[in-house]
């Protein structure tokens, strides 16, 4: 495969708070963003936000299983969990309609489903059931 160097998410990407499935396995591509993307803090008490330099990206909003798009702030639509609305977990710039960024620091990474040993039974159930 010509795209052997492309790194995709091996397991599902879940909301770290409620376990809602944001992306299925292999749905997103690991992308480095040299200039970084600023995301406001997850909680109002956390003060300032932070810049991220590595993201999971998809090129179509329907690549997501569940996600919320916030109202536009300065040409950016921040992404939130569709089920509990915690966020921002990522961003989408209106200037680039083909890229949707999810911060790996703000989501939970599920164990790949074909993993032979340790499967974490404590994972919250996917919300779509």
């Amino acid at each position: 495969m010509a795209e052997a160097l492309v790194k995709k998410n091996p397991g599902k990407i879940l909301c770290e708070k409620c376990g809602s499935v944001i992306l299925l396995e292999n749905a997103a591509i690991w992308t480095e963003v040299p200039d970084g993307i600023y995301l406001p803090a997850m909680k109002t008490t956390d003060g300032e936000g932070a810049k991220g330099y590595e993201f999971w990206t998809v090129s179509d909003m329907f690549a997501f299983e569940n996600v919320g798009f916030c109202n536009t702030v300065e040409n950016i639509k921040y992404l939130a969990c569709a089920d509990c609305e915690i966020g921002p977990i990522g961003a989408h710039m209106l200037s680039d309609k083909k890229t949707f960024y999810v911060s790996p620091l703000r989501v939970k990474h599920d164990v790949p489903s074909d993993g032979t040993d340790t499967v974490d039974d404590a994972q919250p159930a996917p919300c779509a059931e």
């Binding site: 299983e65 569940n66 916030c70 939130a80 609305e85 915690i86 921002p88």
Partner: protein, 198 residues
């Protein structure tokens, strides 16, 4: 992993305070600080739903905030395959206003056979002002699916989306498969046109 059958645009319409947004929230007991996303406000959501082995991706728009201007922009309605009308069973005027919302949808929707569902919300609250019979009668008159719901307990909420999507999928010409096919694909037409029994 299921292939995605189609993507659908679904609108949630109704007066302020009837609980439109909460229909989309998963109920949680967790006590967290208010989050930024809630502060900014959610514009729309993408949700995957699986029905009879078919995955359908929904883009769900609720009118939160915009209904203050009474008339939504026509672009909001454009291309929508399904509409969920929500009223508060404890506030009669939110039921009375449905006629206005219905007129708007009929004026601006670009799909001829848009599927409509009526949701009488907040049935967990006391002081009911709109009976189930009234809601059902209105729904039948306007060819809408009907359920009563409580976002607090999530009674009927999952069911509402599933039934609406099933109806859309069963309506020829209303949607297009991801691979270009039209029509009914692998959907068992159980209880077509029926009212939700949950």
């Amino acid at each position: 992993m299921d292939a995605v059958l189609t993507t659908l645009k679904i609108l949630i319409i109704g007066d302020s305070g009837v609980g439109k947004s909460s229909l989309l929230l998963r109920f949680t007991d967790d006590k967290f600080d208010p989050e930024q996303a809630a502060t900014i406000g959610v514009d729309f959501k993408v949700k995957a739903i699986t029905i009879d082995g078919n995955t359908v991706k929904l883009a769900i728009w609720d009118t939160a905030g915009q209904e203050r201007f009474r008339t939504l922009t026509p672009s909001y309605y454009r291309g929508a395959q399904g509409v969920i009308f929500v009223y508060d069973t404890t506030q009669r005027e939110t039921f009375t206003h449905l006629t206005t919302w219905l007129t708007e949808v009929e004026t601006y929707s670009t799909k001829p056979a848009i599927v409509k569902m009526l949701v009488g919300n907040k049935i967990d609250k006391e002081n009911r002002q709109v009976s189930r019979e009234e809601g059902l009668k209105f729904a039948r008159k306007h060819c809408m699916l009907f359920i009563e719901a409580s976002a607090k307990t999530r009674d009927g909420v999952e069911c509402a989306f599933e039934e609406l999507v099933e109806k859309v999928i069963q309506t020829p010409g209303l949607w297009e498969a991801e691979d270009g096919r039209h029509g009914n694909v692998n959907i068992h037409s159980t209880n077509t046109g029926g009212y939700c029994q949950c």
